[in-house]
């Protein structure tokens, strides 16, 4: 239990459901951790009530996932907690890599200005969870039941039946959809007997939080084979409250219990921080890691999110950030299906989109692990050769891998995407998360991403010339709400559309937004389609595709409507 933070205790309360035979809830989330709470708040923000069950009565014990990546901050901003995270946390963009006693390489993860959110904010996981709980209470659509352990589940064709253990004994619930966000040792995954395939790594790592006053720059520092911890790696990261995360590689033969002893830990830290530095040990843990995933994340009416679905090594901060993107991806789809606005087939795209994303995270974190803890003499020689060459040769710097830090998944192969019409050169391909840019909205400084969502959004660039008001109206009145926004220099006629002024021209640049260019943006801020020139029919088709409607279904609907 860390000393720098007192975990809140959320009281167990007996629920009326416990005196009933079997109460039904449309959506039950298992696990009030980072990912489960994100899903609950996301669904609440879309008007969907959820019941969250958690076997404990508090937030994360220990700082755990500390690096919130830009995309996670954008998601949290939509959920209403990111400003608190920025205010409390440590903003950083730069990493430095040292080999033995020399710096060999540094990198800037966000080298261009004009983004609301930085590459990373470091913040202890318990703060994020505490604020998500508060946000859920504020939105009023989430019931969290603490000390409610899911002891058994029984999948049915149209839902799931659960057995829940409480301090007052067991009771039963049913739901239409179950979101299993119950972590690496998921009981739901075990209850369904699902295989969790992948690799386990033997190397042990000491993870410690220390409290100290230090004026090290707010950067990620990584050492290979430093003088203070010879033959192994070390990582230093700043968190809120003058807490610093220090990871030390211990090797495969380390004794996990003995290594947790402060009598052993403190000398290791003193060697690193210097004898004159005052610090207090706040939290310590010894871990090994695994890269695994479920073959599928959707099993009928059960969805796996976060660590219950996939595990990665910590290098690259791809665990928590990957889990937040799972929730971001699933919740808008589930909300539309529950509202009867999209077919249930839309939910299959969760697998189609998040499995490749998990594979990308696993691939990157496996490669980082192979570089950080090389197996065998040949791998070690190659790794050290890269590091020695890196000091003087740029080509080798590109191979130094102390963690390829989390980037948002580009859902490039998604069945929800519509292929480009016309030529685009940049990175905002269909499936990519929308780019941010500074804008003026109603004369106030603002950011483009704040205006994308919670519904589908049509961005029209530059001019309303060629737009047909009747066609725009028809699009807005389609099967789902579609916000329509003109992004321009503020001088063009807006046809009554809300206008965002592209004050620095960065929106136009990032979106290749020549006048007349249109983007259809999904409720999770990913690009569904882009085209040069307004075409209502093409946009309606792209929207239907992004809703999981096959063209045949969409045509049938049209025929039925006319």
């Amino acid at each position: 239990m860390p000393k720098s933070y007192e975990n809140p205790r959320y009281a167990y309360r007996r629920a009326p459901d416990q005196d009933r035979a079997e109460t039904h809830h449309p959506v039950i989330v298992v696990g009030a951790g980072l990912v489960g709470l994100t899903a609950a708040v996301d669904l609440a923000s879309r008007g969907v009530a959820t019941l969250v069950l958690d076997d404990d009565d508090t937030v994360s014990v220990g700082s755990r996932a500390i690096c919130f990546a830009k995309r996670s901050l954008e998601i949290c901003d939509r959920l209403g907690v990111a400003e608190r995270m920025r205010a409390k946390g440590i903003t950083w963009n730069r990493g430095r890599v040292f080999f033995r006693d020399r710096e060999v390489y540094d990198f800037d993860l966000l080298p261009e200005p004009g983004h609301n959110w930085p590459a990373f904010v470091n913040l202890q996981q318990y703060y994020a969870e505490e604020w998500l709980v508060a946000r859920a209470v504020e939105l009023g659509r989430t019931e969290i039941r603490w000390k409610n352990l899911v002891a058994g589940i029984e999948p049915r064709g149209d839902g799931v039946r659960l057995t829940v253990e409480t301090p007052d004994g067991p009771y039963h619930l049913t739901c239409d959809y179950l979101l299993a966000a119950d972590g690496a040792r998921s009981t739901i995954r075990r209850a369904l007997g699902l295989e969790f395939k992948g690799r386990a790594f033997e190397d042990r790592f000491l993870i410690s939080d220390v409290v100290m006053k230090a004026d090290y720059p707010t950067e990620r520092w990584f050492w290979f084979d430093p003088p203070f911890h010879g033959g192994h790696s070390a990582l230093l990261h700043r968190q809120a409250d003058d807490v610093w995360r220090i990871d030390l590689q211990l090797g495969p033969d380390a004794d996990p219990e003995a290594e947790k002893d402060p009598g052993r830990v403190i000398p290791r830290l003193k060697a690193m921080l210097g004898p004159e530095r005052d610090f207090e040990l706040d939290w310590v843990s010894v871990y090994t890691f695994q890269c695994r995933r479920l073959e599928r994340f959707r099993h009928g009416r059960v969805f796996f999110l976060g660590d219950s679905a996939h595990l990665v090594s910590p290098f690259g901060a791809r665990g928590g950030n990957g889990g937040l993107q799972d929730a971001d991806n699933l919740c808008w789809k589930l909300a539309l299906v529950l509202a009867g606005r999209a077919p249930e087939a839309l939910l299959d795209s969760y697998d189609a989109e998040r499995i490749p994303a998990a594979d990308e995270n696993i691939l990157n974190s496996t490669r980082s692990t192979d570089f950080i803890s090389p197996k065998g003499a040949a791998s070690l020689a190659l790794r050290d050769a890269v590091l020695e060459l890196a000091e003087h040769h740029a080509f080798a710097r590109a191979m130094v891998n102390s963690g390829r830090l989390s980037k948002p998944a580009v859902l490039a192969g998604s069945p929800l995407n519509t292929a480009d019409r016309g030529s685009f050169a940049g990175e905002l391909v269909p499936g990519a998360p929308a780019a941010d840019a500074p804008i003026l909205g109603k004369g106030e400084d603002d950011w483009l991403l704040r205006h994308l969502g919670p519904d589908f959004t049509l961005l029209v660039f530059g001019t309303t010339e060629g737009l047909d008001p009747a066609a725009l109206h028809a699009l807005a009145e389609g099967p789902v709400p579609l916000r329509q926004i003109l992004v321009g220099d503020g001088t063009a006629s807006s046809l009554g559309l809300p206008v965002l002024t592209d004050c620095d021209g960065l929106a136009r640049q990032r979106y290749e937004g020549d006048p007349g260019t249109c983007y259809l943006i999904r409720p999770d801020q990913h690009v569904a389609a882009r085209l040069h020139g307004f075409d209502a029919a093409a946009l309606a088709t792209a929207r239907d595709r992004a809703l999981g409607r096959s063209p045949i279904e969409a045509n049938e609907r049209k025929a039925a409507a006319s």
Partner: protein, 68 residues
Amino acid sequence: MTGKLLTEPRIARPDDFYDALIEAHRDLDEAASRRLDAKLILLLANHIGDLEVIEQALATARGAAAGE
């Protein structure tokens, strides 16, 4: 840039080359020797710069290519 791995003789003085290679390892212990080889591979691979050629060389070195 997608070339084919060239395996016909291309080095003008093969004995000099081989001698230079052996000479580079003189007085190095096992680990230092391995690191030298590793650096050499990395430098030459970057000079070639064509991943397809490098993959052919890797396959040939492992004896996977037919007739090797």
